[in-house]
Each structure stands twice: as structure tokens, then as C-alpha cells.
């Protein structure tokens, strides 16, 4: 019985969402909030105000106060005007999606939104938020003829594309007696990379592992000492030399320099990962490795199913790899 009622409620909710609130699928590009898309209802304060008006009306009637009637009707009409102004505060606002930077799963995705006010009215106190998150918590003003950018954040859990949920815009300006709201489904999505594995696993080495089991580039023969560069692994620091020239006394950090015959490049290959590992864990490990390789400035090749990049280093390479990881096996994977 109860579940039947709930189903009925859900169905009613769905119908009302579709027909009453005209919730639509994502709309590309800029969207104008026509007055048909702005809904309005009294707030709790507005309802109390109605009660106040009723009491005032009864008082004016009982005592036959002409000015009492005037006051009641004027304040009542001011509330109606407030309703009009509140709806107008939202209507004809133009909305456009902005940029959304990729994030790692578990981080907050930041969706940038642009509000443009083409009218001659200043818009104040417009609250924005994702419909799923309850009452909007971001607020902005849009001056007449001006624009404003708002960033809404959304926690991420899974890798892949994350589309911005439906956005609710709310305003109670100017008097707070009414709440006008509108929905907007921007065509805006953010790429969520897999979470880097933690604790980090050591980078894989191709061929023989180095003495301490860490695969690194060209570690075959010791070729001398050079000054420390950022990204050099700590274990290659030439401690004996450093000890002789104490850095605190002006000495330099030096690194042991190795040269391999053929420089074995760092290869991050999904196929090389142990088979029994969980898919997501594998992707996390790959992600972690990409990050680490980038951090240590070690050029790397990347192989994941049909994707094969590198060897290379740099933001574009990193982005391509992470993108492949994020979308592996996901719909619209390209």
C-alpha cells in the first residue's frame, strides 16, 4: 500500500516535472529564461504575510477604519508587485555554460556558468545550485547589461564523463515574500579521471629491474655525476659527493648519472598489469604512474587497449593518457 502510494507520488512528480516545470533535456548554447520558464510561489514569510493581511483586513472591518483598508490594500498590492518583481528578477536572464576542467574522481568538479543580463534592470541575489543538492548555495548579482560568472562544484565519485546536473536558479528579491525559480540543464560535462592509486606503487621498469627493484630510464651503467635537476629520484643522489660539499656550506646537490646502452624508456602498458587486479584499480595505478612520470619528467609511452601514445612528456600527452584512462570501457569513450 505504502509502496503503491510512493510509486504514485513518484509518477505524479515525474508528470509534474515534465508538464508543470517543463524540465527539459540539456539545451545547447545560450539559454534565455523566458517568463514561461520562471515559476513562483510564496515563501514561508509570504504565507505569514497573507495571514497578516487577513488580520489587518479584519481589524479595518471591525473598527471601520478607512485608512486601515487603504493600508491593507496597499501592503497587499505591494506584495503582488513584489511577486511581479521577483519573477522579473529572474526572467530574461541569459545563461551560458562556461569551462569545466577535468578532475580526478573524488575531487570536486567545478562547473563554470555565465549569466548575462541583457535588460536595463539590475538583478540582485540570484541563487544557483544543482537541483539535486537542495537549496542553492551560490549567489550572484548581475548588473544591467552586465555579466557574471558562477562556479558550482559537485563531488565526483566515478571516472568518465560527468554531465552537470540540472541547475536551479532561485531568487527572493526584492522583499523575500516570494520565491521565483527556474530550471536549466546546461550542456556541460566534465571529464573525471580515475583516482590515482594510493599508496603509490613504484613505476614499472622494462627489462631488468635496477638494484633496488625500481625500473628507471637508462640505469645500466654509471656514467658519472651531474648536478641535481628537479625530478631526479632521491635514491640517485650521490651522497658521498654531497657529503663532501655540504649544501649548507654552499655545496650543490649532485646526482649519479647512468647511461644505458639503448635507453629503455618508461612504458606504461595496461596489458602488463597483473591480470587478477580489479579493472578500476588497474586504471588507478596507471593514472598514478602517469602523474608520477610527469612529475619526475620521465618520458613515457602509454598503452591502453587501442590507445598508444608516446614516448612523450607534457600536458598534452598527460591529458590524452588520462582521458583514455577515464573513458576506458565507457560509453562515448573517444
Amino acid at each position: 500500500m505504502n509502496s503503491g502510494l510512493q510509486a504514485l507520488y513518484r509518477k505524479g512528480r515525474k508528470v509534474s516535472n515534465r508538464w508543470l516545470f517543463q524540465l527539459r533535456d540539456s539545451e545547447p548554447g545560450e539559454v534565455t529564461l523566458t517568463s514561461r520558464r520562471v515559476f513562483i510561489l510564496p515563501t514561508r514569510a509570504g504565507l505569514s504575510f497573507t495571514l497578516l493581511l487577513l488580520i489587518m483586513l479584519i481589524g479595518a472591518l471591525n473598527y471601520n477604519l478607512g485608512l486601515g483598508f487603504a493600508l491593507t490594500f496597499f501592503t497587499g498590492a505591494c506584495a503582488v508587485a513584489d511577486m511581479f518583481l521577483t519573477a522579473r528578477n529572474l526572467a530574461l536572464l541569459k545563461l551560458a555554460p562556461g569551462r569545466a576542467q577535468p578532475v580526478f574522481a573524488g575531487e570536486e568538479a567545478q562547473f563554470e556558468l555565465h549569466l548575462t543580463n541583457p535588460t536595463k534592470l539590475d538583478r540582485y541575489a540570484i541563487w544557483l545550485g544543482f537541483q539535486t543538492q537542495g537549496e542553492p548555495r551560490q549567489v550572484t548579482d548581475v548588473a544591467a547589461g552586465g555579466a557574471s560568472a558562477v562556479v558550482l562544484s559537485l563531488p565526483t565519485r566515478e571516472r568518465g564523463w560527468l554531465a552537470a546536473p540540472r541547475i536551479q536558479l532561485t531568487t527572493r528579491f526584492p522583499l523575500g515574500l516570494f520565491k521565483a525559480w527556474s530550471y536549466w540543464q546546461p550542456e556541460l560535462r566534465v571529464l573525471v579521471y580515475p583516482t590515482p592509486e594510493a599508496p603509490a606503487q613504484p613505476l614499472p621498469s622494462r627489462g631488468a629491474a635496477s638494484e633496488d627493484g625500481h625500473g628507471t630510464v637508462g640505469l645500466d651503467n654509471f656514467a658519472g655525476i651531474r648536478s641535481y635537476q628537479q625530478g631526479d629520484p632521491m635514491r640517485h643522489l650521490a651522497w658521498r659527493q654531497i657529503a663532501r660539499h655540504d649544501p649548507a656550506l654552499g655545496g650543490q646537490l649532485v646526482t649519479k648519472h647512468f647511461e644505458g646502452g639503448a635507453v629503455a624508456e618508461l612504458a606504461l602498458d595496461f596489458a602488463d598489469l597483473p591480470l587478477q587486479l580489479d579493472l578500476e584499480l588497474k586504471l588507478s595505478r596507471m593514472t598514478q604512474w602517469v602523474l608520477e612520470a610527469e612529475q619526475r619528467a620521465l618520458p613515457y609511452t602509454f598503452r591502453l587497449a587501442q590507445h598508444a601514445y608516446g614516448p612523450a612528456l607534457g600536458d598534452a600527452h598527460r591529458a590524452a593518457c588520462l582521458r583514455a584512462l577515464a573513458l576506458f570501457g565507457r560509453e562515448g569513450g573517444a
Binding site: 473598527y63 485608512l67 493600508l71 540582485y124
Partner: protein, 683 residues
């Protein structure tokens, strides 16, 4: 000397106000609004309540200014309870109008000290609106209404100020926004005011003190009763004559008949217990004077119809009765403004064939008072021969008394000399100066002493006709007392002894009759005021007319007036011609609005849209994702003349520079002009 010192403290204060953090400024604005709401109440609240309210507001202002913490609840609750106890001790009740208003004002003040959340803000604002309403118990004049409008605007501004979340416009702009909102609300408010169905209040019993403190004619007349009224400028009632208005000396508004005299005070004759109520014989002559009276509330039951109205005229919502003396009264006190239609007969005969035994009580005099007056009465009576049937010749005797008033040096004044125990003796023989109550009282005593049935009638005499709107205004200062004597086969006849002394009083109005108190230098002003041609009088008439229509349309817009107004409106707009006209006006307004909506907000975008529409006709519609430069690149492939290509190229380049580049206002207008001239070339 520092900058601030040189500019003085005022500038310093202004600067500090301007630099105040937003929430503090908002709270101070709310305090000002609350003060505007509370201030009109200070006039009638007990002093301690006003002081407590002011102190609380100041306390709150200091807390806000200094950024201190609000008082804790354990401090506020005892203070509030003490205030409530104070109200109880002052009024001996917590109910009723005055006590309720005192409680509300204190509540509003204390609520300001206990305002923490946004919800509390709404409570304060709503409470303010209600307290504003209660101030109309005490005053509903036009200035009150203007102040009300100002207060509403400040309240709305305060409410609005709390709604901002980011940028806050300066106070002047916020006030303007609120004023705009108020004006936006005005048409609807007027419509509701006119059209909202009115019911005749009260809905339930009014508290006993709902209409206290009204002055008016009372059912007794002691020395000073009327002269104190004469100094009141309060309006008693207003009259609009549907026919020719009677002349000023016929305007006697009969209210209460006084017959019992105890040597000092005249009172009504109580109805004799068990007495059979005889039908009152009235015969009238001539045309009825039809008129409409709008009477101010008196809180009493007496009416003051034009002599002689009735019997049995009706006041809507009231049960009207009349006494044997042709006084008209209602069963319920008149606690609201009432309007009634009546017709009066100026020429009438009242109780012409009254039985002598019924007249005996109009001959009674207190024993042992006024010996000199009684002696004078004897003298006069012997001087006048009785009529054929042995009765005293009342007409002759009355003439004797009136000519005595005229002949001797009697004068008319609002400040008569003090009288002793034998008041009539003192008035007639020593003071010889008095007000209408002295003359009518002395006249009735003399007539009774000579065996002529006589009585005092109080009411109003005259009134001021406003030539602008045709309303006659009768004020408390027009309160008057005259006399009636009974003549065989003529009945009760009105005699106005005051007219014998100050005929001006009857023919014009009181202010004219009183000698100007030139000692204060106001003589000329008063002269000016009473000269109907002077600009001051014109101004006064204008104000009175405005005030009267205010009363008629705002304060006294009752069910009857509403019905008649709506009927009138219906007949104006009822015919098809007016309906079509109204429809046309609406259509025109809508069209204007639509055109304004259609007009692009920015001229630049409009031009660009026009350009795109032009090219779309040639099959080169701009794609939604195309910027002006890529669009221009695509348009180059369009088969068109070289001139057109050049024009299009220039147009789009200029548009792009204007839209996305930073250009000064001057340059912008010039470039816009160029764009406008380019547009037809791109056709």
C-alpha cells in the same frame, strides 16, 4: 588640525554612517522605520510607555553602532513582564484598544532587541505594519495618510535591504526602488479599495473605549458647556443640500431639549413613568428641504437633524427613535461615521393643540433661586395685558424680554464674568455679558416665571458653506442653545434670544459674531479669514473641500457609497461605446508593451541581427556557433557585387571590434552610426 576636526562632527558622523558595515546599516534603517511606525503613537500613549519604547530603540541603536552583543533572554524576559505589568496597572486591563496598542508598541520595541535570525526580521516588519494600522484608531487625516505612505516606503526599503546578498545600492536608490514598488502597487490597491466588498462593521462588539474622547452636545447644559465646545474646530457633520439650501438663519440643527433646571444646570426632562406617549402633532407648510447628512461619530445616541425633520427618518444601520420633544436619537451610540438622507420642513407647527396639563412641566422653576429675576418677571407680566381668555400674552412677553436684551447693554462673549449662586440674576443685572447658553437659559427662566411654557433647545446653528463643493460644514463651534415657547394654537415656537444681542451670530457664523480679539493682533487675520473673497478664505475652502472628499471617499467608503459608486461606474462603462473604447486602450497599451519587448535591448545586437536576417535571405544564415569573423569568411563565397562584399566585410569587422573590443562611448556612437549606414549596402 586633522581633516575630520576641520569638517566638524556632522561630516564625521555622515562618514561613519557611510562606512558602516552593511548589516549594521540595515539594522539602523530598520530602527528608523520602526521609529516612524511608533512615533504617531507617542501622542496618546502614557508617557512611561513612550519613554520605554524610545529607550529600547536607543539601546538597540547603541548595540548596533558599537557592535555589542544583544541582551540575553534572562534579562529581556523580566523587562517584558514588567512592561506588561505596567500596562495592566495603567489601564487596569490588558484588553481593549488603548491597552492593546500600548502592548503592541512595547512588543515591537522589545522584538527589535531579540532579533537574531531572518525570520525575526519578518516578524519585526509584519508587527510594524500592524502597529501602523493601530495608529488609525487615533487619527485618519490626510497628513496621517501621507505619513503612512512614507512609512510604508521606508519599511519596504528596510525589508528590501536585508535581501541583498552582494552589491547593495546606496540608500537613495533603494528608497527609489521601494517608492517605485509602492507606485506599482497603487493602481491595484485603488482597485481593491474601490471594489473590495465592504461590510458594515463592527464584526463583533467593539471594546468600550473604541471611540472615547469625542466631544459633542451633551444632555445637560451647565455654564461653560457650550462655550468650551465653541472653541473646538472639530467637524460635527457635513450636509449636502439636494434642493435650494435654506438661508443661514433657518439652519437650526435640533438635538436635545432641556427642561429641568436646578438653578445651575439644565438637564433633560425624564420621561414620566407610565405616561402615555401621545402622538406628536406636526403640521408643515411649504417644500421639503432634501439633504444628505454625513455625521461624524459622537459615541452618543443624539442626532442633530435640521429643524424640523421627521418624524421617522432613518439612518442606515441604526434604529432611530424620537422623543416627545422631537429629539431624534438612535438606539445604539453612533460610533462610526454615518450618512443619511433626510428632508426637513423649515415652516412647521409642533404640538399646536397640546393639553395644558402636559405643559405644566415646562413651567417649573427651582425654589429660592434668582429672586430679582422673578421680580422682573412679575413687573413685565403686569405691564402686558393678558389675552382674552385670561392667559398671559406670550408673544408680547417674549417681545418684552428680547427688547430688554437688545436695549440694555448686553453683550455676547465667550468669556462671561463669573456668576454666583443666582446665576440668572447675576447675568441679567450685573454681568450682562454671556454666551448663547446664558441668554437662552435666562430667557426660559423669565418666560416660565411669567407663566409661559418654555424650554431650552440645544443643537447647532448655521454652518459654513463651502462654495467649491457645495457642502455645508457644521462644526462643534457651531453648537448653540436657543429657546422654545409654547403659544396656544401655534404650538412650540422657536425663539433665539442670542439673536437679539448678536444677530450676526445667527445670520452668519460664530467667528463673525465675536468681537475680534484685536489685542493679540489677530484681528485682521480673522477678518481676512472670514471674508469669503480673500485668498486665505479661498485656500481654507479648498482645503476643507479636499478634506471633505477625503472623508467621503476614503474614511467613509461604506457599503452604500460603494454600491452607488459601482453602479455609477457601471452605467459609465456599461454601454458598448465605452466598452469598445476601454478595449482599444487596453489593446494599444499591450501593443506598446509588445513593441518595447520586441525592440532589442542593445542597438548593436539589433543591427547584427538585422544583418544576419538579410544574409539568411540569400541562403547564408549565420550558424549558431559562428562568430562574426568566421561568418565573414564564409560570406566571402557568396555570389554578390564587390561593393556588397566590401560593405559586409567592413560591417562584420566593425561589429566584431565594437562587440568584443573596448571602445569609448563616443567612438561607440560614431561606429554605430557607420554600421547603420552600412546595413542597407549589405542588402
Amino acid at each position: 588640525m586633522s581633516e575630520t576636526q576641520r569638517r566638524g562632527p556632522k561630516v564625521e558622523l555622515g562618514r561613519r554612517l557611510a562606512a558602516l558595515p552593511r548589516d549594521k546599516a540595515d539594522t539602523l534603517l530598520l530602527l528608523i522605520a520602526a521609529l516612524m511606525v511608533l512615533a504617531p503613537h507617542f501622542a496618546h500613549l502614557p508617557l512611561w510607555v513612550s519613554l520605554a519604547v524610545c529607550a529600547t530603540l536607543l539601546w538597540r541603536a547603541a548595540i548596533t553602532w558599537r557592535g555589542k552583543r544583544m541582551p540575553p533572554l534572562w534579562l529581556l524576559v523580566p523587562v517584558a513582564v514588567a512592561a506588561m505589568a505596567g500596562v495592566y496597572l495603567t489601564y487596569r486591563t490588558l484588553l481593549g484598544r488603548d491597552a492593546g496598542v500600548a502592548m503592541l508598541t512595547l512588543l515591537l520595541a522589545f522584538k527589535l532587541l531579540e532579533m537574531r535570525a531572518k525570520r525575526d526580521l519578518f516578524v519585526v516588519i509584519f508587527l510594524s505594519f500592524f502597529v501602523l494600522l493601530t495608529s488609525f484608531f487615533y487619527s485618519q487625516t490626510m497628513p496621517t495618510a501621507l505619513f503612512m505612505a512614507a512609512t510604508i516606503i521606508v519599511l519596504l526599503t528596510a525589508q528590501q535591504s536585508f535581501q541583498y546578498t552582494g552589491a547593495v545600492p546606496p540608500l537613495a536608490r533603494r528608497l527609489r526602488t521601494s517608492a517605485k514598488l509602492f507606485l506599482l502597487a497603487a493602481p491595484l490597491a485603488l482597485l481593491m479599495f474601490v471594489g473590495f466588498p465592504r461590510v458594515q462593521g463592527p464584526l463583533w462588539g467593539m471594546p468600550g473605549d473604541a471611540h472615547s474622547g469625542r466631544s459633542g452636545i451633551s444632555d445637560s447644559m451647565a455654564p461653560g458647556t457650550l462655550s468650551s465646545l465653541a472653541q473646538s474646530d472639530e467637524v460635527a457633520f457635513r450636509v449636502r443640500f439636494l434642493d435650494q439650501a435654506p438661508s443661514q438663519n433657518q439652519l437650526y440643527w435640533r438635538s436635545i431639549v432641556l427642561g429641568d433646571y436646578d438653578g445651575r444646570t439644565w438637564t433633560r426632562v425624564p420621561r414620566r413613568r407610565g405616561a402615555q406617549r401621545a402622538a406628536i402633532a406636526i403640521s408643515v407648510r411649504g417644500q421639503a428641504v432634501r439633504h444628505e447628512v454625513t455625521m461624524e461619530p459622537t459615541g452618543k445616541r443624539w442626532l442633530a437633524p435640521l429643524e424640523l425633520t421627521g418624524p421617522r427618518f432613518s439612518v442606515p444601520g441604526f434604529n432611530v427613535r424620537e422623543s416627545d420633544e422631537m429629539e431624534q436619537f438612535t438606539m445604539e451610540p453612533v460610533a462610526r461615521r454615518v450618512r443619511y438622507a433626510a428632508s426637513a420642513y423649515v415652516d412647521f407647527q409642533l404640538q399646536a393643540n397640546e393639553q395644558p396639563e402636559n405643559l405644566k412641566r415646562w413651567l417649573e422653576l427651582p425654589h429660592g433661586f434668582n429672586p430679582r429675576t422673578l421680580a422682573l418677571a412679575q413687573q413685565l407680566r403686569q405691564a402686558v395685558p393678558p389675552t382674552a381668555n385670561g392667559q398671559p400674552d406670550a408673544r408680547q412677553l417674549s417681545q418684552q424680554v428680547l427688547s430688554m436684551f437688545r436695549r440694555d447693554t448686553f453683550s455676547y462673549t465667550l468669556q462671561p464674568p463669573l456668576a454666583g449662586r443666582d446665576m440668572v440674576d447675576d447675568f441679567l443685572f450685573t454681568g450682562k455679558a454671556g454666551f448663547c447658553e446664558h441668554y437662552s437659559g435666562a430667557y426660559v427662566v423669565l418666560m416660565r416665571a411669567m407663566g409661559v411654557p418654555a424650554r431650552v433647545v440645544t443643537g447647532y446653528q448655521g454652518g459654513e458653506m463651502n462654495p467649491l463643493d457645495g457642502y455645508l460644514t457644521v462644526r462643534q463651534s457651531d453648537a448653540h442653545a436657543w429657546a422654545e415657547i409654547w403659544l396656544p394654537s401655534h404650538g412650540w415656537r422657536r425663539v433665539d434670544p442670542t439673536g437679539a444681542v448678536a444677530p450676526e451670530r445667527i445670520a452668519r457664523n460664530l467667528a463673525r459674531a465675536l468681537p475680534a480679539p484685536s489685542a493679540f493682533g489677530f484681528g485682521q487675520l480673522i477678518e481676512l479669514q472670514n471674508d469669503p473673497g480673500s485668498w486665505l478664505a479661498q485656500l481654507r475652502f479648498r482645503y476643507a473641500a479636499l478634506n471633505n472628499s477625503w472623508n467621503q471617499w476614503v474614511l467613509d467608503y461604506n457599503p452604500e457609497r460603494q454600491r452607488s459608486f459601482l453602479t455609477e461606474l457601471g452605467s459609465v462603462f456599461g454601454n458598448w461605446r465605452s466598452a469598445v473604447g476601454a478595449a482599444l486602450v487596453c489593446a494599444l497599451a499591450w501593443l506598446l508593451h509588445w513593441r518595447r519587448q520586441r525592440r532589442p535591448a542593445a542597438p548593436l545586437d539589433g543591427l547584427y541581427q538585422a544583418f544576419c536576417r538579410l544574409q539568411a535571405r540569400h541562403g547564408y544564415a549565420r550558424r549558431p556557433d559562428e562568430g562574426p569573423l568566421s561568418y565573414a569568411a564564409r560570406l566571402r563565397d557568396m555570389p554578390a557585387s564587390a561593393d556588397k562584399h566590401a560593405a559586409m566585410e567592413t560591417f562584420l569587422t566593425l561589429y566584431g571590434a565594437l562587440k568584443y573590443g573596448g571602445a569609448g562611448a563616443e567612438q561607440r556612437t560614431a561606429s554605430l552610426k557607420t554600421l547603420k549606414t552600412l546595413l542597407p549596402l549589405c542588402r
